[in-house]
Amino acid sequence: MIRVSNLVKNYGDFQAVRDISFDVDEGEIFAFLGPNGAGKTTTIKILTTLLKPTSGAVELDGLDPSVQHNEARKRFGIVFQDPSLDDELTAYENMDFHGVLYKVPRKIRRERIESLLKLFELWDRRNDPVKQYSGGMKRRLEIARGLLHTPKILFLDEPTLGLDPQTRNQLWTHVKKLNEDERVTVFMTTHYMEEAERVAHRIAIIDHGKIVAQGTAQQLKEQTGGETLEQAFLALTGSTIRDEDASSVDQMRSMARMFRRGRS
């Protein structure tokens, strides 16, 4: 369903992704693990038509996302790592906007929005503007929105970041159900090893833009002699801590927060 071969992405001199290859089968849950800045999000951006690769080939359901954008976009849904909501709109409006863009028929749209907002316990606050939401609520809304249409492939880029255990549990139960009932292929990244072990059929570990190991959780543990996936992960990627540069986006957000504080 997803095929990546010899993918390379450079930003100037910096090599974000260095010649990686992997396949994800239809109906599979595939976890992409790696330390910060390893190239996970860059890979997802290339797969979801947001970025063009420097070289290498990418295939989504037989389509090339860097050429057949629109056909490819019809195949997948995505929950982004960083915020992608409109703060001025209400939760319901954000959901509705998404549903219209993805051509979910009106009646089904209403039903699904209601059931998803109820599932993630946002229904009572559906008419409040998103800017009044807490961080956790925004995250829940992003996830609910990502599940509004039923795509063939679902990308989840660190979906559980900042979520409480209850919501994490809801999310993975729902994702597993989608995978089992509707054969949705899932491509996920996470920093929580136990989540990857619980839901993923296969795991690839990426570090410094290269895939250092792939296989089932069991295989990875055997390969490294670790008792848990976490130990296997650390054995493969080392224990130094990586820093990502504070991007202009983060600076911008803190500026906007200052603005808002000044106004209110």
């Binding site: 982004f80 709109l89 409006e93 998404h98 863009l101 911008m252 957000r253």
Partner: protein, 248 residues
Amino acid sequence: MSAIYILWLRQLKRYLRSKPRIIASLGQPLLFLVALGFGFGPIFQRAGQGNYIQFLAPGVIAMTILFTAVFSGIELIWDRQFGFLKETLVAPVPRILVMIGRTLGGATVAMIQGLIVIVICLIAGFRVTNFHALPEAILVMVLVSIMFTALGTAIASVLSDFQGFQLIMNFLVMPIFFLSGALFPLTNLPKVLNIIATIDPLSYGVDGLRSALIGVAHFGLPLDLAVLSIIAAALVGLGSVLFSRIQL
């Protein structure tokens, strides 16, 4: 079609929900009307050019549309910074439709602001002399709105943050306004200024409004409408191309 509609609706909702923005954006036209209109009025009169408020009002209306439209287009940078742009860029909607929806939304907002400023001008003493040409006046306003929203979108498509914003304001938007004949007649100008005013697209918007509303023309309404239509179409085209090339 539904994609264009929902993008248009979003722009409109954002505008209607930010009351401070609506009020703030009316301050500048008011200042121009009062300070310049009443300040320069006596001199203008003595120079034999008639009532300055009559002359200035179409310029102030065009100015309002210019600034609102460019800002609406440039709002794209906010969407990029706050992440919402990703949501629209991965949706299975051709990017040209996303661009058109946004542009129509921004243009509608600029139109509304323009209409509010007409009312303010009427209160300040502006009198429309050509009521039968009101449809043409509206058409000019629509074209100017679309043209500059598309320009703002085109600019925002190549800027990734607000670093270049002041540059755009001071070296593009301000000159477009000040050199357009919004504030002074285009007759008997120094040669260089005359050339600049002739290639400034806003000159045709201001002139179009003046011919339609008070029957005073420099280029003439047919030429104004032709130039505005061509440039608006070109900028929508340019904006679409640049917008569809965005990578995040």
